[in-house]
Amino acid sequence: MTINLKVWKQKNAKTSGNLETYKVDHVSPDMSFLEMFDVLNEKLVQENKEPIAFDHDCREGICGMCSMYINGQPHGPLEGVTTCQLHMRTFNDGDTIVVEPWRSKAFPVIKDLVVDRSAFDRIIASGGFVSVNTGNAQDANNLAIGKDKADMAFAAAACIGCGACVAACKNASAMLFVSAKVSQLALLPQGQPERESRALNMVAQMDAEGFGACTNTGACAAECPKEISLDNIARLNREFLGASISSTSV
């Protein structure tokens, strides 16, 4: 197949960018979307043109590094699939595909399609953990956790921290990401002691990072490659409200 690409090029955070047009021939339907970029980049090197910078690592849909905005959708058209797991058989010969970086004030562009998502790390550092030092654990089976709860916690913990939820949201809200971590730990007995402070601190950090407010449009969950559910946002709202009430009463 032949694919026409319009790709965002931007030298660094200080300059402005623009869409550039490229044509890639001999695209095989078995290629992944990123392998098509590999082919294009090799061609650019041959033409003495600087290759396009994009983030990627595992190429298995698990590290959360890849982050392309493809034809107006984070990670492209398929549901439950990251950019690296998207294959060219999803497209047709002659298609024109527009590729841009995540857009959000809290995710500044570093170069081309690469953005800075360190805000997510700072949110986790503000409370996304159980405070248990190494060596303080009891025997793992002393803590029975019902399968339903364990499965729900696991489903929330499957978030890969890619930021597609933010990219999909017209308010650039990080609620789905934050709610996934808050839910995982709120559902488990290990998370109970810090349940309230966790919700309050993570939401405060999210606001401080410049993410927008959630207006419940649901765009995040629709685009999330790990199908993190909106139920988590509902749970976060409850947790936050509960925590706010009890913290103002002290």
Partner: protein, 662 residues
């Protein structure tokens, strides 16, 4: 330089008491002194994150480095199937000794007893620690933890979280690390690549790192430096490793005097999605846990053109079950891989390229899971469709993400047709040589996780890498580092304008400038591909003296071409993945040569190292304990020059035997 004397420093005493005694006698560092001791941790995978968090909790000042944009994205995140621990929750006869025994035997008697026993001892604590952090392992309805079986064992000791165990374990360690970052006890540097170890008076005292966003070179001091930088499987270009995984940190350490051990011991994993074309950038693993429930077969007839589902039962060759009845589909990886290669080379392979075998879930899906569910639901005489429907639900819960991934990549639905799989490079048992303390031959320089050589001998058992990484980080280094740092409490932080730092930064800069100024015609990627091809063909699943000698010559020629015709576009002082890649490929090329040198030295077949000259009539590997029961530890002596040091292995607690899985 004084000649190196290898001392593994394994404590005296009975095997079961070594670690306990060590822990109660190792010198401690008091809390006030810990605050003035600085530790650099390079790498934030399972080994690095767990080490950094634990050391910071103890009071040390820690800095962490990783080349990805967040510590959470280290390659450990991709581990699928599970983590071993001798908990004996299944009441099936597991014990510390059995895990120790399985690991030594699985490693084909090329691992160090003392280290492996310690690993087995702390394995149970790892599960406790992870559960306490909120890692959502799979559980039964009664709330207890579940286990599955992995290759090379006859007990069920593998803990898991669907096919995403590495992700959940790493997120646990990452959250512990972030907690310390939030407290200010760890300073993290993401998108930073370590490019050299700085030594002062023979001791590791810091690193040179490149800020990958700005291109600036930075100097960082530490009283000790921990390399937790993962494996080097990407030397083969195609592997199951993440794209960025590389040997650079370990290689720079090697050039600074750290011996590199058993470089030729690489693991080829039997169940990966086969190569589909030239564009292929990486290979995808289908977890070993699938061998629990999938049966591996090829048609009995050569060149059988029928679709898999049309080939009747009696015309299928379940070759693993046939050759190894005791372990069947659960033989260790090296054996399963070679058996697949043997069938394909003999012309029985399937798929378009004929370089694949089937991994078939139909019979377990129907007979094991379908029937059990039907019985549970009280359905009498269920029909085939019901069994398939019920079985699918269970399989989906156990392996859903793997089946989805397979479908996404190949376009075929593994619930309906058998998977096609072929062996691929997966893991490196070899790595930086370390003693019992995990210290390399450079004082103050440690190496943890896949980057070291320590616990897996010539072949690693499934679900043991996660165990080792977390054992090293949570439970070993917090003790063993005291042995060194207790003698360093008087050392003040050395200012980074010390000449050793200046010198190291200068030589790092010169190398980067050299790479970018060659201005030749070929991309780093194209050199990497060519190196990978040489390595796979001549130092891959089967090796021979002739092939290895050719490979060495070809790699040396490739190196020359690299340094005269490389093209690196983009700037030196900005974000430039091409430049990062070029540096890594340069190091891979040098490592590739050493791997061939090592493989050539080892005139035996053991574990993942199979020399065609050394096999029995049936094609089984022929180990030579009399002459090769040693760890090969290579000292870098100059360009293409290495000196071999041998660490003799002694087995006092295990009877050495020919590995037998029949």
């Amino acid at each position: 330089m004084a000649t190196i004397k290898l001392d593994a420093k394994v404590p005296e005493g009975p095997i079961g008491e070594k670690w306990t005694k060590y822990k109660s006698s190792v010198p401690l560092v008091n809390p006030a002194n810990k605050r003035s001791l600085e530790i650099i941790v390079v790498g934030t995978g399972l080994a690095g994150s767990s080490a950094a968090a634990s050391l910071a909790e103890m009071g040390y000042k820690v800095k962490t480095f990783c080349f990805q944009d967040s510590p959470r994205r280290a390659h450990s995140i991709a581990a699928q199937g599970g983590i071993n621990a001798a908990k004996n929750y299944q009441n099936d006869g597991d014990s510390t000794y059995r895990l120790f025994y399985d690991t030594i035997k699985g490693g084909d008697y090329r691992a160090r007893e003392g280290n492996v026993h310690r690993l087995a001892e702390v394995s149970a604590n790892i599960i406790d620690q992870c559960v306490a952090q909120g890692v959502p392992f799979a559980r039964d309805y009664g709330g207890m933890l579940r286990n599955r079986s992995f290759g090379g064992t006859q007990v069920q000791r593998t803990f898991y979280a669907a096919g995403q165990t590495g992700q959940q374990l790493l997120l646990g360690a990452y959250s512990a690390l972030e907690r310390q970052i939030g407290k200010g006890s760890v300073v993290n540097y993401s998108r930073h690549e370590m490019l050299d170890v700085v030594k002062i008076d023979g001791k590791a005292r810091g690193i040179i790192a490149r800020n990958l966003i700005t291109g600036e070179l930075e100097r960082h001091f530490g009283h000790a430096v921990l390399l937790c930088t993962g494996g080097y499987g990407n030397v083969f270009y195609l592997s199951t490793n993440a794209m960025g995984s590389n040997v650079t940190a370990a290689w720079k350490a090697h050039k600074q005097g750290a011996l590199f051990a058993n470089p030729c011991f690489t693991q080829i994993h039997p169940t990966c999605i086969p190569v589909s074309g030239d564009h292929q950038s990486k290979l995808t693993l289908m977890s070993e846990s699938l061998r629990n429930d999938g049966r591996i077969w090829v048609p009995k007839q050569k060149d059988d053109k029928r679709a898999a589902n049309d080939i009747p039962e009696e015309e299928r060759d379940y070759y693993l079950e046939r050759r190894y009845p005791a372990f069947g589909n659960l033989v260790p990886r090296d054996i399963a891989s070679r058996a697949a290669k043997e069938r394909c080379d003999a012309g029985y392979g399937v798929g378009a390229t004929k370089m694949a075998v089937y991994l078939d879930f139909k019979s377990n899906l129907i007979n094991k899971y379908g029937r059990a569910e039907a019985t549970k639901l009280g359905i009498e005489n269920p029909d085939l469709d019901t069994l398939i429907r019920l079985g699918k639900e269970v399989v989906k819960e156990e392996y859903g993400n793997l089946f989805d991934m397979y479908k996404q990549i190949t376009g075929e639905d593994p619930y309906e047709v058998p998977m096609m799989i072929y062996p691929a490079v997966h893991y490196t048992m070899g790595g930086v040589w370390v003693d019992y303390n995990l210290m390399t031959t450079v004082p103050g320089l440690y190496c943890l996780g896949e980057a070291n050589f320590s616990d897996h001998g010539a072949n690693r058992l499934g679900a043991s890498a996660l165990m080792q990484g977390l054992s090293d980080g949570y439970f070993v280094i917090p003790y063993t580092i005291g042995a060194y740092l207790s003698a360093e409490i008087k050392t003040k932080a050395i200012p980074t304008d010390h000449e050793a730092f200046v010198e190291a930064e200068k030589s790092t800069r010169e190398r980067i400038e050299k790479l970018i100024n060659i201005k030749g015609k070929q991309s780093p990627e194209s050199f990497h591909k060519r190196l990978g091809k040489i390595m796979w063909e001549k130092c891959g699943m089967a090796r021979s003296e002739k092939g290895l000698k050719e490979a060495i010559a070809e790699i040396q020629a490739l190196k020359k071409e690299f340094w005269s015709d490389l093209r690196v576009l983009g700037d030196i002082d900005g974000f430039n993945p091409e430049l990062d890649k070029a540096g890594r490929v340069a190091d891979f090329i040098e490592l590739g040569e050493l791997m061939c040198v090592d493989a050539l030295d080892r005139n035996e077949s053991c574990g993942g190292h199979f020399r065609e000259e050394y096999q029995e009539d049936g094609g089984e590997a022929m180990r030579d304990d009399e002459n090769y029961m040693y760890v090969s530890a290579w000292e870098h002596k100059g360009e293409s020059q290495w000196e071999l040091h041998k660490e003799e292995l002694k087995y006092e607690n295990i009877k050495i035997a020919q590995r037998n899985y029949k």
